[in-house]
């Protein structure tokens, strides 16, 4: 899985590409942790290029959320496809994460 990381407006934007499932989540988890350790004042995860996510991907993001709360670095998810958002809704995590529509929204949320 490819994961792009860029810095914009004092925020670290992470953009994974491809399905996040049991096969790819170990890479996603390692790369996300690495990026989070070097993150700027805000961490934005742009999921526009993720068409599918299973519970292993959600678990990775919950870990990331827990670290962000410990570090005091806000974590925002954006550009979720409907089927990915649906996983958060069924798991009742859509109200736990800060989820917004666009990257610009995430930078100002």
């Amino acid at each position: 899985m490819n994961i792009n990381v860029e810095t914009r407006d004092s925020a670290t934007i992470i953009q994974p590409q491809g399905d996040v499932d049991l096969a790819s989540s170990p890479v996603f988890r390692a790369r996300l942790q690495e990026a989070q350790e070097q993150a700027q004042a805000r961490l934005v995860i742009d999921l526009s290029s993720v068409q599918y996510m299973d519970s292993s991907g959600v678990a990775t993001l919950v870990e990331c959320l827990q670290r962000s709360r410990t570090d005091g670095t806000p974590l925002v998810l954006c550009q979720l496809h409907e089927r990915v958002l649906s996983v958060f809704q069924i798991a009742r995590l859509d109200g736990v994460f800060d989820i917004v529509a666009t990257v610009d929204d995430a930078l100002t949320a």
């Binding site: 399905d19 499932d21 049991l22 096969a23 599918y52 299973d54 519970s55 292993s56 959600v58 678990a59 990775t60 919950v62 870990e63 959320l65 827990q66 409907e82 089927r83 649906s86 996983v87 069924i90 798991a91 009742r92 995590l93 736990v96």
Partner: protein
């Protein structure tokens, strides 16, 4: 039969497994005809292939794309549990997925069987979702998406999970 790496897909499951010297799944004794049967190794790389198949099968039966996607998620989560917990992430375990088209009850049926370690059926349950922590969501997702879910021990070892989902717009007898 179509071979794809360690996976094989066929419509007459009573032939190839036995020819290959592999003990076939017991299946449901009441279900004489299995509509689609896939046998594959417990490797995460095959999950995307299975999702595509389940998505196509569900869509053909009339499920809207969003609902077909959720069905894919439920099947995927069940297979993940077999791979991670049943076979302890070993890549050489056998998994059998059977999909049966609706009969009188208008439900599509998914049966997942393995020869992995058997688990105490009482321990298979959703966790408290108020406890925000990684992991343990798979059973909850499966239960929320499917209309009925049944775990059981297979005779001779392994587990069998039967999941059923009602076809939209169909009346139940």
């Amino acid at each position: 039969m179509v071979h794809a790496g360690g996976a094989e897909v066929y419509h007459d499951p009573m032939s190839s497994s036995q020819q290959a010297g592999v003990i076939p799944p017991a299946g449901n004794s009441e279900q004489q005809a299995r509509d689609l049967h896939v046998e594959f190794f417990s490797r995460p790389g095959y999950l995307a292939i299975i999702r595509q198949m389940v998505d196509a099968f569900s869509g053909r039966l009339g499920f809207a794309p969003a609902e077909a996607s959720r069905i894919c998620l439920a099947v995927d989560e069940a297979l993940c549990n077999v791979i991670r917990h049943g076979y302890d992430s070993s890549p050489d375990g056998r998994i059998w997925l059977t999909i049966n088209e609706p009969t009188d009850d208008h439900c599509i049926e998914f049966i997942i069987e393995d020869r992995a370690q058997q688990v105490d059926l009482d321990t298979i349950r959703s966790r408290n979702l108020e406890d925000i922590r990684p992991g343990g969501l798979g059973v909850h997702l499966i239960g929320e998406i499917m209309d009925s879910v049944n775990y059981e021990h297979r005779d001779g070892g392994g587990m069998r999970l039967t999941m059923r989902k009602r076809i939209p717009g169909e009346e139940t007898n």
